[in-house]
Amino acid sequence: MNIIYFLIGCSILLALAFLAAFFWAQLSGQNDDLYTPAMRILLDDDAEPPADK
């Protein structure tokens, strides 16, 4: 059963990595604006205006 020590160590390290990733995202401002990117993705970049109907 000593494998438990190793497994718990692994799981905590993994969880810490995710926590660190969240901190990085938060501090680099990735969560500052959660609304605009959702709209931006729906807009085309370089389309010519469609012919008038």
Binding site: M1, I4, Y5, I8, I12, A15, L19, F22, F23, Q26, N31, D32, D33, Y35, T36, M39, R40, L42, L43, D44, A47, E48, P49, P50
Partner: protein, 787 residues
Amino acid sequence: LKIKTFQMRQNITIEKTACYHCGDDCETLHYVVKEKNFCCQGCKTVYEVLSASKMGNYYSYNDHPGATRARTDKRFEYLNSPEIAAELIDYTDSQVTIVTFFIPHIHCSSCLWLLEQLNKINPAIHYCRVDFLKKQLNIRFDHQKITLQQVVEILYDIGYEPLISLQDIIKKQNDIKKDNLIQKIAVAGFCFGNVMLLSFPEYFGISGYENTFRHFFGWLNVLFTLPVVFYSGRGYFIAAWQNLRKKVFGIDFPLALGIAVLFIRTVIEVATHTGAGFADTLCGLVFFLLVGKFVQQKTYHHISFERDYRSFFPVAVHIIKDDSTQAIPLAQLQTGHRMLIRHMEIIPADAILLNGDALIGEIVYAGGRQTGGAIELEVVKPVYQSYLTQLWNNEAFTRQKDNRMQTFNETVSKYFTIVLLTIAFGSLLFWLPTDVRRGFAAFTAVLIVACPCALALSTPFTMSAALSVFDRNFFYLKNIAVVEQMAAINTIVFDKTGTITTGNSNQIKTEGFLSVPEQQLIYSACINSAHPLSRMICQYLGGQHRLTIERYAEIPNMGILATIGSHRVRVGSSKLVLGYKEIAAKVTKVYLMIDNKPLGFFEFSHRYRDGMENISEMQPAYKIYLLSGDQDHEREELSQLFKGQLGLHFNQSPQQKLDFVQSLQHQGGRVMMIGDGLNDAGALKQSDLGIAVTDDVNNFSPGSDAIMDGRSFHKLPAFLRFSKDTISIIRFSFFISLTYNVIGLTYAVTGMLSPLTAAILMPLSTATIISFTSLATHFAAKRRDLI
């Protein structure tokens, strides 16, 4: 005598087409490009600019995405002044400048698309990013190729004029959230999850030969509680310490005590191998408390509650010096300067009129908006001493609002803390003579189990649910404390113009047909009167030729009698014109008569906002007053709405309004002030709850506790009732959480509290409170027809 009304309407209805740019009705058909109709030159120009830069896609994402533009001249020369530019710019070096603008018109995906393509219009703009909810545009540009003024002019050309004001709301808003709350929640949640997992073996039972695991898990749990207590939970210790020094027992004190006791007991139990400790209760407690705090912090990014005269006034003023105009920052405006104020600009300081259409030599007070041609004024008082701005020197603006009523939570937590400490020390003293260890176990268990987690959560969750209900009804509260203030209100004070009357005067209708000479006669009679109805009639009839008047008499509350040439003109109430009193109607009518021939009437409908009838029904539960800066022309109509004349006060200066609110407060009134303009700013600030009414939340509204969209004015009684409902919900949820506390205490006082009981009781009570408050608020809102 019988009145003869003519059925023919004066307006000839032309077939209306919607403007391709802004969607308004096109009054004329003068502005047509490529078979597209535009309502004005401004809209047409924007279309031409956009199609020249191949930005026609702007119109394909949404129909009529633009804003209408009545004004077509640019006035951004002041941005060349280095002092003003320095205030606005976020960052600048030798190459690039970064600036953030607040653009109120941002509202759809077309706006987003267009504003992020500015470099197609001018390549010197490197980068632009829209923050849609905050309505902000962040621009990075090469200032050697394009100036700040040119950037703003591009924005103006494409129909997105930024709102530039001295009190820079952009920077202020970005500064607010720096308390790392989200990070604290993340850490607490991370530890909570891990600790729970590690605690399960203990709860399900660990056999004797696995005892080494028990210590391993125990120490890991202690390790996880360290960041929870010292990083996430730090704020509670600081708040509790500050409260203690001020000698108040806030809710933070029992919370901090609970956290500390949980931590110390867990460490001791794990270190002495006497038990598993309460690590998961501790982490869960801090996690839920922080979530409650997060819910509490609802902010409206696009609305500012702190606006004062600085955001109302322009950033720069044009002054005339040596026969040329130049822009100077408002702060540099001095007595003796000659200002040039153009159409739709605001007069920033008390001044004497030098030339223009109005009366020369007249003193003009700051705050007025010039309409019509340009005027020249000489400043007589600096901006910060003008009649209007001196209001801000009143103590109402400098002191903190300390006369706020104590919130329910504050009142309760004081007694709660005292009772809690009594029970804790009582159980300690009870066990101490027989069993010292059991005594301390009971003492700590009481503090753990009675930790008012659910109590601390009931207010934020109820209030934030209430806030989103108000939000749906276009009523925006500054923070959750405002709901509780609203429930305690017993006196309501209204401003008149703009608050209970609508801003625009277009709701004038005529019955009957007036020939041109008749129109001239009526116009000439009405132009002499300052009565608001006369003014509206003149505005309606437009620029007629003004005839000389032989005899003129204005009878207060009745109307006008005039002799013009050989004609006798009567304009006014039915009693004056027709000789009998008409049965009171909801609409105001002004009857016309020329040479004893009745000519029908002007009808003014909806002059008051919808729902004014409901206002009088709020008496006598609320005392209702009206404070108006205007003359008392409308006294009679208003006394019907306000049930009597006692509450009506006319000719009130901004300072008098403030003083009146203060005197009501001295008589024990908890006053809600509802106003709209700068002249109410003092009263709004002095009152216990100031509500600014506006027809467009992005427009200027004075500093207040809440901003109400004019459309939801009729819901005011429902809002007040709903705020009282939420207080009842909080009280009830408080009893629920007390019940849980009593159940826990029966275990705790015996000193036999098992970690498992605590670990179940705490999340269970929290879940009950959260679901109860959310559901109850939802049903209360439904009952009041708010959702």
